[in-house]
C-alpha cells in the first residue's frame, strides 16, 4: 500500500477495518472530499459538521421518506411502518410526531426515574456480589439489558414477558458478520414482535392503563388521532432507535473513561460534577449512531461536486463530532471539555428529526453511571477480550469484560 495521500479516499462502511476505527477516514473525507461519492455502493457522504448540521435541518432536500438505514431491505417508501416519523417528512412527520409527543412527554420520562433506578440496582446487585474485586461483562450483565427493559416498562409490557421481548428486539437489530442486511432471524423476530405489540395494543384499547401505549391511544390533536398501525410503528421505532444505541452509549462511556485513568479518578472523586460531562463527551467522541441516510429530493452542489436528485446520501454524525472546525483537539477524549463545544454535538441529530428519546437516553446513562460510581471505586477494561459489534452504523461493544473494585462501606 502506498502513502495515504497517494490514493483517493474511499469510505466503505462495510469494511471491517473502517468499522474498527473509522475516524482516520472521516478526517480525510472532511479534508479531501467533503462531498464524497462511493462508486461501488453508489451513495454520497457528508462529513463536515456544518454540512451535516445543515442537511439534518433541510428535510425538503434531504428527505427521510425512504428511511434512514444503510440496509437495502429497509430503504423504501414504506419504511415508516417500522420507523414512524423518523421515515416521514413534513407535513406527515409533523402530524405523527405532534400526536406522539402528547404521550411521550418529558413528565413521563421523568416519572421513570424510580424504575430506571430499580433496574440499575437489580442488575448491579446481581453483577457485583458482596466484596472485593469482581469480573463481569458490562454488556451482558447490565448495558445490554437495561435499555430494552426501560422501553418495555414505558410501553406497559408485563414483567413476565420482558426477557422474551428483549430477545426478539436484540434479534431485530443484530447483524451477522459478512452479511450486509437484516438476517432471516431478524425478519422472523420482527414478525413475532409485531404480533406481540398488536395484542398489547388491543388489550389497552379494551382496558386502558397509565402506560405509554394507552397514552398513545388517547393522544389527540384537533380531533385527529393515531391509528393502530401508526402506534405500532412508533413502538418499533423505540426498539430500533432506543435500545441498542443506549446499550452502546453505556459501553462506550465505560470503555473510554477506563482508558484514561486520570480522568477516571476525577469522575469517581467528583461524580456530581463529572458524570454528566462524562456522558456528553462520550456522545461526542464516539457516538453510538454514526450514520444516517437521506434521500435527495434535489441536486446538492457542495465543494465543487454535485450529488444528483434521487441519490442516497449519508450524513456522518460521528465525523461531525470530530470536526476540527468546531471542536478543539477533537481526537482527545476529555471530560473537561468546554460546555459550549459539547453543545455542538450532533449525536442525536438536529432540526425537526432531533431524537425524541434524547432525554431518556441521557437519564438512563446518568442513573446507571452514577450508581456504578456509588458502588465501585475503580474500573478496568480487559481490552484484549472486548468484542466490537460489526455494524455499518452502530458503534460499540458486543462484549466488554471489566474488573471493578467495590467501595468498602
Amino acid at each position: 500500500m502506498g502513502r495515504e495521500n497517494d490514493v483517493r479516499v474511499v469510505f466503505d462502511p462495510y469494511d471491517y477495518a473502517t468499522q474498527d476505527d473509522p475516524y482516520p477516514i472521516y478526517r480525510r473525507l472532511r479534508d479531501e472530499e467533503p462531498l464524497h461519492h462511493n462508486a461501488e455502493h453508489d451513495f454520497w457522504v457528508l462529513s463536515r459538521h456544518a454540512d451535516v448540521a445543515a442537511a439534518l435541518r433541510d428535510d425538503a432536500t434531504y428527505s427521510n421518506r425512504m428511511g434512514v438505514s444503510l440496509d437495502a431491505s429497509a430503504w423504501h417508501p414504506e419504511a415508516h411502518r417500522v420507523m414512524s416519523f423518523l421515515a416521514l417528512d413534513a407535513p406527515e412527520q409533523t402530524r405523527v410526531r405532534s400526536l406522539v409527543s402528547r404521550a411521550f412527554t418529558p413528565r413521563r420520562v421523568r416519572e421513570l426515574i424510580p424504575q430506571v433506578q430499580g433496574l440499575t440496582d437489580r442488575y448491579l446487585d446481581e453483577a457485583l456480589g458482596h466484596d472485593g474485586s469482581v469480573d463481569l461483562d458490562w454488556i451482558a450483565q447490565l448495558a445490554g439489558k437495561l435499555p430494552m427493559d426501560v422501553i418495555s416498562e414505558m410501553m406497559g409490557v408485563p414483567e413476565a414477558d420482558r426477557d422474551e421481548v428483549r430477545r426478539l428486539s436484540d434479534l431485530l437489530v443484530h447483524r451477522e458478520d459478512g452479511l450486509y442486511d437484516v438476517p432471516p432471524a431478524g425478519m422472523e423476530a420482527a414478525m413475532s414482535l409485531f404480533g406481540y405489540y398488536t395484542d398489547l395494543l388491543a388489550e389497552r384499547r379494551r382496558q386502558p392503563t397509565d402506560d405509554l401505549t394507552s397514552a398513545l391511544l388517547a393522544a389527540e390533536v384537533d380531533g385527529d388521532k393515531l391509528d393502530d398501525s401508526e402506534i405500532i410503528a412508533f413502538l418499533f421505532l423505540m426498539v430500533v432507535a432506543g435500545n441498542e444505541t443506549t446499550t452502546k452509549l453505556l459501553g462506550n462511556a465505560v470503555h473510554h473513561l477506563a482508558a484514561h485513568p486520570d480522568q477516571l479518578a476525577t469522575v469517581f472523586a467528583e461524580p456530581d460534577s463529572f458524570v454528566v460531562p462524562w456522558i456528553e463527551e462520550t456522545l461526542r467522541h464516539d457516538t453510538s449512531s454514526q450514520i444516517l441516510a437521506r434521500h435527495l429530493r434535489a441536486d446538492v452542489e457542495l465543494h465543487g461536486c454535485t450529488a444528483p436528485a434521487g441519490a442516497k446520501l449519508l450524513v456522518l454524525l460521528g465525523s461531525a463530532n470530530r470536526d476540527e472546525r468546531v471542536f478543539s483537539h477533537p481526537t482527545a477524549y476529555d471530560v473537561h471539555r468546554d460546555k459550549k463545544e459539547l453543545g455542538q454535538i450532533l449525536s442525536f441529530g438536529g432540526g425537526r428529526h432531533f431524537c425524541l428519546g434524547a432525554n431518556l437516553a441521557r437519564l438512563e446513562a446518568r442513573i446507571v453511571l452514577e450508581e456504578l460510581v456509588r458502588r465501585v471505586d475503580h474500573v478496568e477494561v480487559d481490552t484484549r477480550r472486548a468484542v466490537r459489534v460489526h455494524s455499518t452504523n452502530v458503534r460499540g461493544f458486543a462484549e466488554l469484560p471489566i474488573r471493578v473494585r467495590r467501595r468498602t462501606s
Partner: protein
C-alpha cells in the same frame, strides 16, 4: 403589527434547539428542563432567528403570532 412568541410548555421537550437558533429570544431553565421566552415581543430584526427556532423545534412547541 408586532411579533409575539409563544412557547407551549406542555410540549417543550427541553431539546434546546431554539437557544441555538435564537439565543437572544430563548433561554433554558436548568431546573425545569424547559424553554424560557426571554423576549415575548422581539424586535423585527430578530424575525429570521425566531422563524428558524419555530421551524426547527423538534417538539413543535413554539409558535409566532402577529398582534
Amino acid at each position: 403589527m408586532t411579533l409575539r412568541v409563544v412557547a407551549d410548555l406542555g410540549l417543550c421537550q427541553g431539546h434546546q434547539m431554539c437557544t441555538g437558533e435564537a439565543p437572544d429570544v430563548f433561554d433554558f431553565d436548568d431546573d425545569t428542563d424547559q424553554v424560557v421566552v426571554l423576549v415575548e415581543h422581539p424586535d423585527e430584526s430578530l424575525r429570521p432567528q425566531v422563524v428558524a427556532a419555530v421551524q426547527y423545534c423538534p417538539a413543535m412547541a413554539l409558535a409566532m403570532e402577529e398582534e
